[in-house]
């Protein structure tokens, strides 16, 4: 397997520009490009595939530039959002296509197609046509077709977005299993933060044609560097506060931030633990399945807390007017 690296990539259109200074997917890693639609993540994937030519910059597989290689010489596998199964070919023919292009002997093709279909748990559908398959089955055939050629890089473009929620979760773990099993370097494009968190070794969050931050899922979740990353990955509390001598005060709470001046402080609702005490005024609360969400006012600022119902130290039907607050993890944006 290989590492994939983008260096100084620029792709310009009339009304949009994609700029990637540097992005590297390590050998055997599943790197997700996460962002809202139109952020340039699919274009990035297509540049890696060679389906799109950047105006400048380099794509390297294992340190070797592949810019001038057409897609068919890059030894990649792609799964498209709508799968792009060839409608005039059976499942077998679809999966065998890449092997036939590589001119493998007949026996070898049959053996490998069989193995690929086993890998995605779809043995016995060889003679069906794509239109006779369910969405989930088509998705897995597309995956088998991409994997059967033993590509050095697997590229997945929103592969689960056309499926309903239940199948999506099942296929998500299946993709993860296969990726771990084959240890194949994988670039995964999605706009779904839950999917990204669940699957990825690392995530690159993109916005407006730029990479905002790259990191492990939890690192991004709790320590975003920008407000965009913070907001895109889930609900957040973002407060504009003043730091003096490296310390931020919020009511009776104090935080060591190490800098002074105006700061933007960020923390997740689940980092806010509610206890008995007198730090904050309870503005409102909502009971959710197994959880509870409070709206609290501290020092004139409204923050949200979310926690397990079982962790609340008082009777939730009659909460006190004032509660104590503890913020475990925070970040400065």
């Amino acid at each position: 397997m290989v590492s994939v690296e983008l260096r100084g990539i620029q792709k310009r259109w009339e009304d949009f520009a994609l700029t990637i200074e540097r992005l590297r997917a390590r050998d055997g890693e599943l790197l997700t490009l996460l962002g809202p639609s139109g952020c340039g993540k699919t274009t990035t994937l297509r540049i890696i595939a060679g389906l799109e030519k950047p105006n400048s910059g380099e794509v390297l597989f294992d340190g070797t530039p592949v810019n001038d290689l057409p897609p068919y010489e890059r030894n990649i596998g792609i799964v498209f959002q709508d799968y792009a199964l060839f409608p005039h070919m059976t499942v077998f023919k679809n999966v065998a296509f890449g092997l036939e292009m590589r001119k493998l002997p007949r026996m070898e093709i049959e053996r490998r197609v069989k193995r690929a279909l086993e890998l995605v748990n779809l043995e016995g559908l060889e003679n069906r046509y794509p239109e006779q398959l369910s969405g989930g089955q088509q998705q897995r055939i597309a995956l088998a077709r991409a994997l059967v050629v033993e590509p050095q890089v697997l590229l997945l473009d929103e592969p689960l977005s056309n499926l309903d929620a239940k199948i999506r979760e099942r296929l998500r773990s299946e993709i993860k299993r296969i990726q771990r099993e084959l240890k194949i370097t994988t670039i995964y494009v999605t706009h779904d933060q839950e999917e990204a968190m669940a699957l990825s070794d690392r995530i690159a969050v993109m916005n407006f044609g730029r990479i905002e931050q790259v990191g492990k899922p939890l690192e991004l979740y709790h320590h975003p560097k920008t407000e965009f990353v913070a907001r895109f990955l889930g609900s957040s509390n973002i407060l504009e506060l003043k730091a003096e001598n490296g310390v931020v005060r919020l009511g009776s709470l104090r935080f060591n931030v190490g800098i002074s001046g105006r700061v933007k402080m960020f923390f997740r609702p689940e980092s806010v633990r509610v206890k008995e005490g007198n730090d904050a005024h309870v503005v409102d609360y909502e009971i959710l399945p197994g959880r509870v969400r409070f709206k609290l006012k501290i020092d004139g600022k409204v923050i949200t807390s979310e926690g397990l119902l079982s962790d609340i130290p008082f009777d939730i039907e009659e909460p006190p007017k004032r509660v104590g607050v503890e913020i475990s993890t925070f970040a400065i944006l």
């Binding site: 057409p70 792609i78 498209f80 792009a84 296509f97």
Partner: protein
């Protein structure tokens, strides 16, 4: 995306177009506009001549009137096909493909047998309706050819109109006529306009029909060019008329292509309304009986000229007989064409297949490059490759006489095949391009990512998916070459007489029985094409 384009594949198409279209075209322009320097004197002498001026006016007028009649017959059909399922709909839908493949000489013959003196309908109602040798016959025959286009294009779009629009309008108080006028019609207009423009262009360039059932008084420009050259040997006048015709038809063709763009954009809408199956009580209502009457009418309209030809071919001196068939296969007519009937059949088939081959050889590389590549001057190239649509067989014939007479090519079948190819390849190009456009681009990308080179991805993935369009285009090219009359008449040596030309010569000699018998054979070939199209399940327009 651009990747190592191998432009070499365009060499054959470009060479064919240059030699067999652009060089002849330039020679016509030169004949019509050049006399020791550029001049408009040939054009103006045509325009001041009252006969030619009347021909030009008549050509435009009859095309307009034919289009109106075509719409009048086709639009109710479009409505019925889009909205209702009724018994026999499949048959009627199939029958609508028939005019697409039937040679116009045969249809003209059918009209003569129906409406002429001693014609079947004339006898039936006891007096001559005056349809033959008048503008009425021309209009009717043009409607015969073109109303299926209107039915298909308009009903296809009608089915795609999102029913929510009409429902929303109804909740806002629009209904009946007002609903149609204010909401439905504006949404249908691209289809109506595109099909009307196509009809207009076909009628404007019509040759065989006005030649045979219009007579001298109702000549179109196309017929006028033909007679100027063939009867009067006046090439200057012929070329001047051709220049006028090309300029006009380019304008009309431009409007057609524009309207087609608008139509194609609307056609992409995914919504599909299934036609409603009519219940028995609905069929018995006034609406139901109107629909059944209309269906019967178009069935009879299309089938009767063909049946008339078949009926006539089986009659000799007023009694049922196979004598006509015996006669055309005996040697007594050979001196008239300089070829036997068997020769004519063989010529038609060989030229037809050669035309299909050359049309594919021309159209496929162009379709591929337009579909796949972005290159400088692509728009110009597109226009240059489509321009033959605005020319006509007679114009080509004139150009070929100017350019090739005296060369080794002259009087060879190759010149005929070249002419057929130039007039029919744009249709192959259009059907193939349309099919290619419908293929999702990521199938091609998937093939590339799996290791297929560009041409392999095209051959293995895109071409098989465009096969329906390719077959329909090929059949159309075949049908056009078989049906071609004018250029064949101008360029064919007697031994290269085709079936269509032979039918025309029988007609000229008032040998209707023999004409019918040969036309029936022609009809059999066309029917084979028709059945093939039915098998592809592809929409024709």
């Amino acid at each position: 995306m651009r990747m190592r384009p191998t432009k070499l594949i365009l060499i054959i198409p470009v060479a064919l177009l240059v030699v067999f279209f652009y060089v002849p075209l330039i020679s016509i322009l030169q004949t019509g506009l050049w006399d020791n320097g550029p001049t408009l004197k040939f054009i103006s002498s045509v325009l001041v001549n009252s006969y030619h001026r009347r021909v030009i006016e008549f050509t435009v007028a009859q095309a307009l009137a034919s289009t109106v009649l075509t719409l009048a017959i086709g639009l109710p059909g479009a409505y019925i096909f889009a909205k209702y399922d009724f018994p026999g709909k499949r048959t009627i839908r199939a029958v609508l493909t028939v005019p697409f493949v039937m040679p116009s000489v045969m249809v003209a013959l059918g009209f003569i047998l129906l409406f002429g003196r001693g014609g079947i309908i004339t006898d039936l109602i006891g007096h001559d309706l005056g349809i033959l040798y008048s503008w009425k016959g021309i209009l009717l025959a043009h409607a015969f050819y073109n109303f299926p286009i209107v039915v298909r294009m308009v009903s296809a779009l009608w089915q795609r109109i999102n029913p929510h629009y009409e429902e929303a309008a109804m909740t806002l108080g629009a209904r009946g006529w007002r609903l149609f006028w204010r909401v439905t019609l504006p949404m249908l207009s691209p289809a109506i306009f595109a099909s009307a423009m196509l009809t207009f262009v076909f009628c404007f360039l019509s040759f065989s029909i006005p030649l045979i059932i219009g007579g001298y008084r109702y000549a179109t420009i196309e017929v006028d060019i033909f007679t100027s050259i063939m009867t009067l040997l006046d090439f200057r006048t012929g070329a001047a008329l051709a220049v006028i015709q090309i300029v006009l038809s380019m304008v009309f063709m431009y409007l057609y292509l524009k309207s087609l763009d608008a139509y194609a954009k609307r056609e992409e809408q995914r919504v599909m309304q299934r036609p409603r199956r009519m219940t028995l009580s609905e069929l018995a209502s006034l609406k139901g009986s109107l629909i059944i009457t209309y269906a019967l009418f178009i069935f009879i309209f299309i089938v009767s000229p063909l049946l008339a030809v078949l009926y006539d071919s089986l009659h000799f001196n007023g009694v049922w007989s196979l004598e006509n068939y015996r006669r055309i296969f005996s040697a007594e007519y050979d001196p008239m064409f300089g070829a036997s009937t068997l020769d004519a059949i063989r010529n038609s088939l060989t030229f037809g297949f050669a035309t299909v081959f050359l049309s594919l050889l021309t159209a496929l590389p162009i379709a591929y490059s337009m579909h796949r590549w972005n290159f400088r001057g692509k728009r110009v190239f597109d226009v240059l490759a489509t321009l033959p649509l605005a020319s006509s067989a007679i114009t080509l014939g004139l150009g070929y006489i100017r350019v090739f007479s005296g060369t080794a090519l002259y009087y060879t079948p190759w010149l005929l095949i070249a002419a057929y190819t130039i007039i029919s390849y744009p249709f192959v190009l259009r059907t193939v391009s349309a099919s290619l456009k419908k293929i999702r681009p990521n199938l091609w990308e998937a093939a590339l990512s799996l290791g297929a080179k560009e041409w392999k991805a095209f051959l293995r993935v895109e071409l098989p998916l465009a096969l329906g369009g390719l077959i329909v285009g090929s059949i159309f090219a075949f049908a056009m070459s078989i049906a071609e009359l004018g250029a064949t008449y101008m360029l064919a040596k007697p031994e290269y007489t085709t079936m269509t030309l032979a039918v025309y010569k029988f007609l000229g000699a008032r040998q209707f029985g023999s004409a019918s018998a040969l036309a029936v054979l022609l009809m059999l070939i066309s029917t084979a094409g028709f059945l093939l199209i039915e098998r592809t399940g592809e929409e024709v327009w």
